[in-house]
């Protein structure tokens, strides 16, 4: 990714000489300005060259908070890939910074020694993290000390994630309790790090809300397990070569392994200052986004100061980019930028905070409406002036946010009964206004999605709210516009919107969450999937809900479950994993990855007899026979005469083990033996999603126990650590330490109890890496280890019942459960289509 991307400069063509447009800064504002210019036919007017200090295409910076918390992967936040630049004929110098502008000869000088001439220049250098003065921030060599991070770029974020996942790193201090600091704290918390936020003002988010709201917010933040210190200034970072703690003004020392500085941002103006451009707090621009007194230099984004304002949010830069593009291309030279009203939302799951405009009354005539319910974490404050809303702070209840944002943005008239601003009392007039929104009105500010873009998506066939959101990425940033997105989609589909399976439902067809669904099933004594549909699904049977219900009922009822085979997914009907060509893979059980001469010989014979196209060792320490036809499955199982390894179901899969103390010279515990015992006990247990386990014989962790759903590690002194919620697939997460115990038997008990709690509480297809952070490791520890809810015995008993009802599904080979269970479904295709090695 660090390579310079050199597309040959297009020569001035027959269309007449094109002017040279150079853009400094390839962030959200720079790239957006170029998109707007291209949309106005800019490609015919200009040859475009962009310089970006970061060695990438353009990405959505605001999503870095979600990347840090693991809710998004870093690959998914790119807005313009390198090929976008190529396809649009833009020369991108990625990883190159511009050091100086010669505005008299019209050239820019960049760090790679290049001198690039321009006719029109756009500066979009954005901001950087502000490092407030404190001792020990830098090493004597002038580098930021190891373990100290800013939070601005994708590289910052990647480094923080890597550092946070290092097993010795357990504590972090975040300096700054504003939006960015709280999002950083929440993100680190998701990695199981203990976090303290140190904020110099008297209450959190002091730039966005008053002290009353701040006090309510503090309780919600502390409830996430984040420590909060307000009114304290950090004076020094401790540690000689890497951060080991911070000290505060009052002398308090907080030991920690990492320090994140989120104490504000500063516009990147060095380049402008050096080049003699007018800079006050930022680069001064006029209403045309032109740098003051310059004819050919424009600036946009966080690096500009317009009418005295410097913004730190994306919404203003979308508006600026439109004006700038109209000016630069000459499309509409009367277009002016007159400033933006800004609203902010905190992107921390479970803590709803939105704020806009004033936090409190300023004139005697201002009305101030306040509602406060600290015990539920709810606080609402609205300031009204001349019957217009001029400010609002909303905590803990986001239902009115979309409406209020619009009332604020557009100065909508307000209901006479002011309480209607805070609570739904029938339909407020504001909510019917979607039709009145202009086509290019921005619906999603984070991703810059207009009403028109959403309407086009709906007309293109995305008639669910989720589908339209996926297609346009509207609502995928801070999420505050979701309600408005929904209204636009519903309006565009003319009421014909396909209903989203509400996210809380366990399965889409039944409007109940898991707890409610289980209660109804118990109350009504339902025992089969068809009975559940009949009793509880308003629309009757639903294909997409069947598998989840089958799994839930099996978990709840064990051998009392009436097993209707059509409710199963094909893998569970035929106990093998379907492959891309319709053949299946067969993975026999090989407990703990331990095998024998007899097993190996038998597997070899079977593979030979059935002409198995591919024999492969799996990541789960077993042997996979791939490319088996459905009709051959029973014979293959019969010839193998080994139990199923369950490599196909939403179920307990395998226990990976290392060799452990019998052979390994480091081993402190018999990991192989314990792994085999765990697998023997829990084989085939269904769950909302698959469960992969591991046992390692010492902290060298050869079986990768820290990234398993349940991972066990033997430590000195004959003790065992149990980690839960780890993952190393599409998502990477280090497991959280549930308990350290003395006895392998205790490991088995806690493993079973954890898995049962997960089976009972997790959403369908919710892996433990999502479940564990959702409910919180402290809570799990309380319930599972300390039995704070008094349900341990009940969980153990339910698990025992499931264990007792285990039957090897491959026994069905002699006695198929349904007619044609193993009948081919693709009789005429030439098989196999998977490559034969």
């Amino acid at each position: 990714m660090t390579s310079l991307l050199e597309t040959p400069r297009t020569q001035p063509s027959a269309r007449g000489p094109r002017r040279r447009l150079v853009v400094i800064g390839n962030g959200m504002a720079g790239a957006r300005a170029v998109e707007e210019i291209l949309a106005r036919g800019g490609a015919a007017q200009f040859t475009i060259t962009m310089f970006g200090d970061e060695p990438y295409g353009n990405y959505n910076r605001i999503m870095l908070s979600h990347v840090l918390s693991g809710e998004e992967s870093d690959a998914d936040i790119f807005l313009n890939s390198l090929s976008w630049y190529r396809d649009n004929g833009i020369t991108l110098h990625a990883g190159v910074r511009v050091d100086r502008i010669d505005r008299f000869t019209k050239h820019v000088f960049s760090s790679d020694g290049r001198v690039t001439p321009y006719d029109t220049l756009i500066i979009a250098t954005g901001s950087r993290s502000h490092m407030p003065p404190m001792d020990g921030l830098y090493t004597p060599g002038g580098q930021v000390k190891q373990g100290v991070f800013g939070f601005r770029t994708i590289d910052d974020t990647r480094k923080m994630v890597a550092y946070a996942q290092h097993e010795h790193h357990r504590r972090a201090v975040v300096i700054g309790g504003g939006l960015l600091g709280l999002e950083a704290a929440y993100g680190l918390r998701s990695h199981g790090i203990d976090v303290d936020v140190v904020h110099s003002a008297g209450h959190l988010m002091s730039a966005q809300m008053g002290p009353d709201g701040g006090a309510v917010l503090r309780r919600s933040v502390e409830a996430l397990g984040i420590g909060v210190l307000t009114g304290s200034r950090t004076t020094a970072v401790l540690g000689s070569d890497r951060a080991t703690g911070v000290s505060l003004r009052d002398g308090t020392v907080i030991p920690c392994d990492m320090v994140v500085v989120a104490a504000g941002i500063r516009p990147n103006v060095d380049l402008a200052v050096l080049s003699g451009l007018p800079v006050e707090r930022a680069i001064v621009v006029d209403d045309r986004l032109r740098v003051q007194d310059e004819d050919d230099i424009y600036a946009v984004g966080e690096c500009v100061q317009h009418r005295g304002e410097v913004y730190g949010l994306v919404a203003p830069l979308w508006e600026q980019a439109v004006v700038l593009a109209n000016q630069v291309t000459g499309t509409d030279t009367s277009a002016l930028y007159l400033g933006s009203r800004t609203a902010t939302k905190l992107k921390v799951a479970g803590v709803e905070v939105a704020s806009m405009g004033l936090h409190g009354p300023e004139l005697d005539t201002d009305e101030h409406i306040v509602f406060s319910e600290p015990s539920r974490g709810v606080f609402k404050s609205i300031v009204v002036r001349d019957n217009k809303m001029v400010g609002a702070t909303l905590l803990g209840d986001s239902r009115k946010v979309a409406y209020l944002t619009r009332a604020y943005d557009h100065g909508l008239p307000l209901p006479e009964e002011r309480i209607g601003l805070m609570f739904d009392l029938g339909t407020p007039d504001g909510d019917t206004g979607v039709a009145d929104l202009s086509d290019d009105a921005q619906v999603c500010n984070c991703n810059g999605v207009s009403k028109k873009a959403l309407v086009n998506a709906v007309q293109g066939g995305c008639t669910t709210v989720a589908g339209a959101m996926e297609a346009t990425r509207a609502g995928k940033g801070c999420g505050s516009c979701k309600l408005l997105v929904r209204q636009v989609v519903e309006w565009a589909a003319d009421g014909d919107v396909a209903e989203d399976p509400a996210t809380a439902y366990y399965v889409p067809a039944i409007p109940l969450d898991k707890a409610e669904l289980m209660a109804e099933i118990r109350k009504r004594g339902l025992r089969s999937v068809s009975a559940v549909f009949h009793a509880l699904a308003p629309g009757g049977e639903d294909a997409k809900s069947k598998m989840g219900l089958a799994s839930l009922l099996k978990m709840m009822l064990a051998d009392q479950y009436i097993d209707e085979r059509d409710a199963r997914f094909i893998n569970d009907r035929v106990h093998a994993n379907i492959q891309r060509d319709g053949t299946f893979s067969v993975v026999p059980q090989m407990k703990g990855g331990v095998t024998s001469v007899q097993q190996l010989r038998r597997i070899a014979d079977v593979a030979e007899k059935h002409n198995v196209p591919l024999i492969k060792l799996t990541g789960g320490q077993r042997i996979d026979l791939l490319g088996i036809r459905k009709e051959d499955l029973p014979q293959v199982w019969a010839d193998l005469d080994m139990p199923s390894g369950y490599a196909y179901g939403k179920s307990f899969r395998t226990v990976k083990t290392c060799v452990g103390k019998d052979f390994c010279r480091y081993g402190t515990g018999d990991s192989t033996k314990l792994g085999i015992e765990i697998e023997s006990r829990f084989q085939g247990i269904e769950a909302p999603a698959k469960l992969k386990l591991a046992v390692s014989g010492c902290p060298r962790n050869c079986a990768e126990s820290l990234v398993k759903d349940v991972g066990v590690v033997a430590v000195e002194g004959g003790r065992w650590e149990i980690y839960v919620g780890g993952a190393a697939g599409a998502h990477i997460r280090k497991g959280d330490l549930l308990a350290t115990v003395d006895d392998p038997e205790e490991v088995k008990v806690l493993t079973g109890r954890f898995m049962q709690y997960y089976r009972a509480r997790a959403n369908w297809l919710e892996r433990t890496y999502a479940f564990v952070p959702r409910v919180g490791i402290e809570h799990l520890r309380d319930v599972i280890v300390n039995d704070s809810e008094g349900i341990a015995a009940q969980l153990d008993a339910a698990m025992q019942e499931s264990v007792d009802s285990y039957e090897d599904p491959w026994e069905e080979r002699t006695d198929p459960m349904t007619p044609g269970q193993f009948r081919t479904s693709l009789p005429l295709t030439v098989l196999p289509q998977v490559p034969v090695r």
């Binding site: 066939g461 068809s530 009757g540 049977e541 639903d542 294909a543 997409k544 069947k546 598998m547 209707e564 085979r565 059509d566 409710a567 997914f569 094909i570 893998n571 009907r573 379907i578 891309r580 060509d581 319709g582 459905k630 349904t818 007619p819 044609g820 009948r823 081919t824 479904s825 693709l826 009789p827 005429l828 295709t829």
Partner: protein, 111 residues
């Protein structure tokens, strides 16, 4: 039901309906092609080409309800009556399938 009725196509007798458990589908070879026949839980029958237009998945191995079949490979869904994809994959042309007096499946192939 005799050959060449209503739609004027050719009729194929595929054997007893019991070959298909309720709520599932099975594939049949007909005229050098493959047809997936589904027996819905309300007793009615549907038939579609057996091969998913998306990437060739075996539709007879799919999960069904009274309206759609969901392909096992990438979960595209197809309306059982019309063959139209409800998830944006290609569409399928449905076949007519009935029971004769002996509870045999009879498939009408269009001409």
């Amino acid at each position: 039901m005799s050959a060449g009725t209503a739609t004027g196509g050719k009729a194929h007798v595929l054997g007893p309906v019991e070959q298909i458990p309720p709520g599932e589908g099975r594939a049949f070879a007909v005229d050098g092609g493959q047809v997936a026949v589904f027996r819905l839980r309300d007793g009615s029958l549907r038939a579609l080409p057996a091969v998913c237009p998306h990437k060739g998945g075996p539709l007879a191995d799919g999960t069904i309800d009274l309206n759609v079949v969901v392909c096992p490979l990438h979960q595209h869904a197809f309306d059982l009556a019309t063959g139209c994809s409800t998830t944006g994959a290609g569409n399928l042309r449905p076949y007519e399938v009935l029971l004769d007096g002996q509870q045999n499946l009879v498939l009408q192939m269009p001409v």
